[in-house]
């Protein structure tokens, strides 16, 4: 049994001032950062606030910034961190702070509400069902692995540094839109919205979102870039524009 120090962000209630507080605790083999936070909670700071549910990287609740990197606390093993220095654990900085490690992520739920919903084509078979080949759903299944941890939103500089929450939906919802646009059954069209209201043009493909995705979804390459290409083909391709001018 050895010890490690965790430098955890503690805030005053009501989003007041905050500071790092060091907690030293016993650690054992196989522990993850969330275990350490729980240990601190049970032994030293019962009112320490943190979100968590599944503890297996499946629900996306325990998002935080560990040593400055956006990660899930439940999937950050202590043996992957340098324990000779205090491990810093702080809340996601892109969202308003509620308390300690808990942030107000309600903006994300509001954004989703504003996007066009899934609209399936007419069923393929008389019994009201559809036929889809596995190879045609592979890509959409990759996108649907998203656990809505919002780490991609946290790291995205358009939101984090430029605060474009009103004009840009962020990587999570570009991915969500891509999952609908590439869904073999979906019959709606979201390109106009992506261009005008969802701010897809703000993304300058730095791929930070892909790097932090705990589900290893290729957000930029497989979702955002293809959507950008579709928007460009539709609205900025000179030949198409010319054709549209002629045909009205």
């Amino acid at each position: 049994m050895s010890q490690a120090t965790f430098r955890i962000w503690r805030s005053e209630p009501g989003g007041g001032a905050g500071k790092f507080v060091d907690y030293t605790t016993e650690i054992s083999e196989g522990m993850v950062v969330l275990d350490a936070v729980h240990k601190v909670q049970a032994e030293q700071a019962p009112d320490l606030a943190c979100r968590w549910n599944c503890k297996a990287g499946k629900c996306g609740s325990c998002s935080a910034e560990i040593n400055g990197k956006p990660r899930l606390m439940c999937m950050s093993r202590l043996n992957s961190l340098d324990l000779t220095e205090p491990v810093t654990v702080e809340p996601m900085r892109t969202f308003p702070l509620i308390k300690d490690l808990v942030t107000d992520v309600s903006w994300n739920f509001r954004v989703k509400k504003g996007l066009k919903k899934f609209k399936p084509r007419q069923p393929d078979a008389a019994d009201g069902t559809w036929r889809m080949a596995q190879r045609d759903v592979d890509r959409v299944q990759e996108f649907r692995k998203c656990i809505e941890c919002f780490l991609c939103q946290d790291v995205c500089h358009v939101l984090r540094d430029h605060d474009k929450h009103e004009e840009f939906i962020g990587p999570r919802f570009l991915l969500y839109s891509a999952a609908l646009e590439m869904h073999p059954l979906d019959s709606d069209d979201r390109l106009q919205d992506l261009k005008d209201q969802n701010g897809i043009g703000y993304c300058n493909i730095t791929k930070c979102c892909t790097k932090v995705c705990p589900e290893h979804i290729h957000i930029t390459d497989n979702a955002i870039i293809p959507l950008k290409e579709r928007v460009v083909d539709r609205f900025y391709d000179p030949v198409t524009r010319l054709l549209r001018m002629i045909t009205g």
């Binding site: 196989g30 009112d47 979100r51 599944c54 069902t129």
Partner: protein, 605 residues
């Protein structure tokens, strides 16, 4: 202190897992106003952890499947103390509920001809589980969540219900607090749907998250509803055992469905050593036949690793106790061996079991495509819960409905894997439908402000005691240790009586629990409140288990190791007496109608 705010709905749904969301969708579709309360953020409920799939006899992969076979499988798995009407409805309606998900955007794995693919699972005669790799629960919850987004349902996230309030014997509303600010809220409703999930947190080793504290069970019980089958706990045979911090986290049965085998430290496939008589006709004679079954050879019978969960868990327990376990106290689950059978095994495993691959790689530094996993039983599911009417899901309290894990009946003594996700959508829909129907013809109820006041005062008492009170985390830990040791996989009279004694002590300590700090997002305080629910559930589990002097399904007693016919004629019910004590009684089962008897007989071979 008065409540901060009051909300009023036609239908109030408590819980936003699969059952709660499905109920909300149905009620909203019926045109009534719907409020949805969830303990966490939307989309984080425990449904998200379900891996293997949802059982529905669509017969895509084997055209011999039908609702009759599914019904018979469910009854056999539940050892015939199920509510047969629920098992019948479930088997009949599950296919439509699954297809409906596809219309709402769910993307299931496909068969070669483009239909929803179905996989093998324990206790199911034919491949029956619609699935998405091993993240079916995520697909279910996200599909329902996204669909709900557009229906005008008001969602109250991170709210926890403290008390169910009645008006003249009818469910009338609830008192809840919000985590963010610790403020109290009163909700009134013409009908309430309880969909709060399980109570796995009563045990030390569990696959359940912090939310699984039996809230719905306990709220309904304290308000006077009847609980049944509380002795039946499902210990899932395969939870992670190492490293210690992830002990209990689920390893999907899908691993065995895809060909994974269980071995002891001697390398022996010990599941072949003990096959119950009623499953013998359906179980493979040797390893070779078992593999053919995995490869969907219709003439082959299933390998013994796919026997029901209660049985597999006990076999693992036996091997470990006999000293034939793995280094960290489990047994070996090996999927890597299929490389002897198929060419591209590692890629195949990663495609079929992506999140298992990921989970072991990241949490245990282990590559499941090359190395066997160590697994052992983990508390997974409670078959027992609120007694409901099979068709409407209404409880014994008028106006209170229940669906999903917190309701009881469909699973009997043991639930088959895959029957939970389908249970959520079949009975979630029915609960929403009948709750809306009732709301339409009911007047707005009154919530007694005095009752809310008293409950608020009691809830705040831990702050008065501060750090001088009992540490709530410590009480919870002691409760979990006691339940694990004394009312676990193998039970006996003496240990369970000891558990009941200990529970009285924990109750006294919980009543003295104290916490420091502010009301904002204070986990210590939340634990104080959850403790009451855990304690009520634990007591119902222990007392029901003492009453059932036989072994059946998830309930195994070493002092009564055999099944006793007489105990197959009733359920055990627990109700709260006016003086606060718990009454245990026997509730005779309704006789199986002739047409269902015949179905069961036909499927016995």
């Amino acid at each position: 202190m008065a409540a901060h705010a009051t909300y009023s709905y036609d239908v109030l749904v408590i819980g936003a897992g699969g059952a709660g969301l499905r109920a909300a969708i149905e009620a909203a579709g019926a045109g009534v106003s719907v409020g949805l309360i969830c303990k966490s953020l939307l989309g984080k409920a425990h449904t998200v952890m379900a891996e293997g799939g949802m059982a529905a006899a669509m017969a895509h992969n084997d055209d011999r499947d039908s609702w009759q076979v599914h019904f018979a499988d469910t009854m056999r798995g539940g050892q015939y103390v199920n509510n047969w009407r629920m098992a019948e409805i479930h088997a009949q309606e599950a296919p439509d509920r699954v297809r409906e998900l596809e219309a709402w955007g769910a993307v299931f794995d496909r068969t070669p001809d483009g239909r929803i693919n179905q996989r093998n699972f324990g206790g199911h005669r034919y491949p029956r589980l619609a699935h998405v790799g091993d993240r079916t629960g995520l697909e279910l919850i996200r599909t329902l969540q996204d669909h709900t987004t557009y229906l005008g349902v008001t969602v109250h996230m991170e709210h926890t219900v403290i008390e169910l309030i009645l008006d003249g014997g009818r469910a009338a509303g609830v008192l809840a607090y919000d985590r963010e600010r610790g403020r109290f809220h009163v909700f009134t409703a013409k009908a309430i749907v309880m969909a709060t999930g399980g109570a796995g947190r009563a045990f030390k080793i569990t696959s359940n998250s912090w939310e699984g504290t039996g809230d719905g069970h306990a709220l309904a019980y304290r308000a006077g509803a009847e609980l049944i089958d509380m002795e039946f706990i499902q210990f899932h045979p395969t939870g992670m055992v190492w490293p210690p911090s992830v002990r209990g986290i689920l390893v999907t049965e899908g691993v065995r469905g895809e060909g994974g085998v269980l071995r002891n430290s001697e390398g022996r496939r010990f599941m072949f050593d003990d096959i119950p008589d009623n499953y013998k006709p359906q179980t493979a004679a040797d390893a070779e036949e078992g593999w053919r079954y995995v490869m969907q050879d219709k003439t082959a019978r299933r390998p013994p690793e796919l026997l029901t969960r209660d049985h597999v868990a006990r076999c693992i327990n036996r091997e470990v106790k006999a000293g034939r376990g793995s280094p960290h106290g489990g047994v070996f689950l090996d999927i890597a061996w299929i490389k002897d059978k198929i060419a591209d095994a590692p890629a195949h495993i990663k495609r079929k079991l992506p999140s298992m691959y990921h989970q072991f790689k990241e949490l245990a530094d282990l590559d499941i495509t090359t190395t066997a996993m160590e697994v052992g039983p983990t508390t997974h599911y409670i078959m027992g819960g609120i007694r409901v009417d099979a068709d409407s899901q209404e409880s014994t309290i008028p106006g209170l409905f229940a669906a999903g894990e917190c309701a009881a009946g469909i699973n009997g003594a043991n639930r088959l894997g895959g029957n939970s996700l389908s249970d959520l959508i079949v009975f979630g829909k029915r609960a929403g439908e009948y709750a809306a129907q009732l709301a339409r013809k009911s007047a707005a109820p009154k919530v007694d402000e005095g009752a809310a006041e008293r409950s608020i005062t009691a809830s705040l008492a831990p702050f008065d005691r501060g750090n001088a009170g009992e540490n709530p985390y410590k009480v919870q830990q002691d409760l979990q240790d006691a339940m694990q040791a004394l009312v676990g996989i193998v039970r006996n009279e003496g240990e369970m009586q000891e558990a009941v004694q200990k529970l009285a002590g924990f109750n006294a300590r919980a009543a003295r629990a104290g916490v420091d700090g502010h009301r904002e997002y204070n986990s210590g305080w939340h634990t104080c409140i959850d403790l009451r629910n855990l304690l009520d559930c634990a007591e119902a589990i222990a007392r029901s288990a003492i009453e059932r002097k036989e072994s059946r399904g998830g309930h195994f007693r070493e002092d009564y190791p055999d099944k006793v016919a007489e105990f197959g004629t009733f359920n055990i019910a627990t109700t709260r007496q006016p003086d606060g004590s718990m009454r245990v009684s026997r509730l005779p089962l309704k006789e199986l109608p002739a047409h269902l008897k015949q179905v069961i007989e036909e499927q016995k071979q």
